[in-house]
Symmetry: C2
Subunit: 150 residues, 2 copies
């Protein structure tokens, strides 16, 4: 097996295809990971997503530093992992976010992916189900790929 670093373009391709990964936020140095759906804007350094209110959003409002991870593991000799450090930006109804909200709605509705674990809560906590839109600005992107061979 050989392991090599991916270029930024290769990392972006992995994120673009994946659409499903994990998002980590942190509070008081305690990290917290959730699975989430996203869509990479192919023209910019933003991942768009949505969520209903909950611990993840509360933490990201207090500390916008996040991490996104996507992996594709076929077997022990064939895997890819991409990690992005990013910043959370909530796309509220303010005029300042009008363009970004429009872009988020275009991307997410077009790809019809309103089914994600990150957007769902157990039945006992469904009182706040209006999703909020957000995006992650990518500030650092790295990846590795393993392929068979010496």
């Amino acid at each position: 097996m050989r392991v090599h670093e991916l270029t930024v373009v290769e990392c972006r391709n992995v994120l673009y295809r994946a659409r499903h990964g994990r998002l980590a936020c942190a509070r008081d140095e305690q990290p917290y990971i959730v699975p989430f759906f996203f869509y990479l804007d192919p023209a910019e350094d933003f991942l768009y997503s949505f969520s209903i209110m909950g611990q993840k959003v509360e933490w990201m409002r207090l500390n916008p530093k996040v991490c996104v991870e996507v992996d594709e593991v076929l077997d022990r000799d064939n895997w890819t992992a991409v990690v992005a450090f990013g910043r959370y930006q909530e796309l509220d109804d303010s005029p300042a976010h009008a363009d970004a909200r429009l872009r988020a709605n275009e991307l997410l509705q077009f790809h019809a992916a309103w089914w994600l674990p990150g957007g769902l809560k157990p039945e006992s906590a469904q009182e706040h189900r209006t999703p909020l839109l957000y995006r992650i600005e990518i500030v650092q992107l790295t990846g590795r790929r393993a392929t068979p061979g010496d």
Copy 2:
């Protein structure tokens, strides 16, 4: 689709079966996720794993608060996600860790899983390849499962 909370026993079963998930650590409120292999000790609240030196280990030495996530996504109506908050414990050669190192070696060698992304670096950085053993003490465990239906 229905979403319900998993019991602690159900969460442990998911971790026990999975053996592959994601580990997040944090430094200066910046979370960092990596894919990793682990083995849950069925008798205790510890996940055992190994790694070579790198950013993940450096960060966990400075801040032992970590998060482990495992998800099983079959399709939009069939998925499970388990999240554990935990504490990093490095199992060095000191007498205090002798029993834990023995247990780690038993579990990890028995399951022959020395192939993990978390234990590998690109070829350009293979100078420190002796793996170190560590375990994550589980301090909080939650999970959700979605199943088809109203």
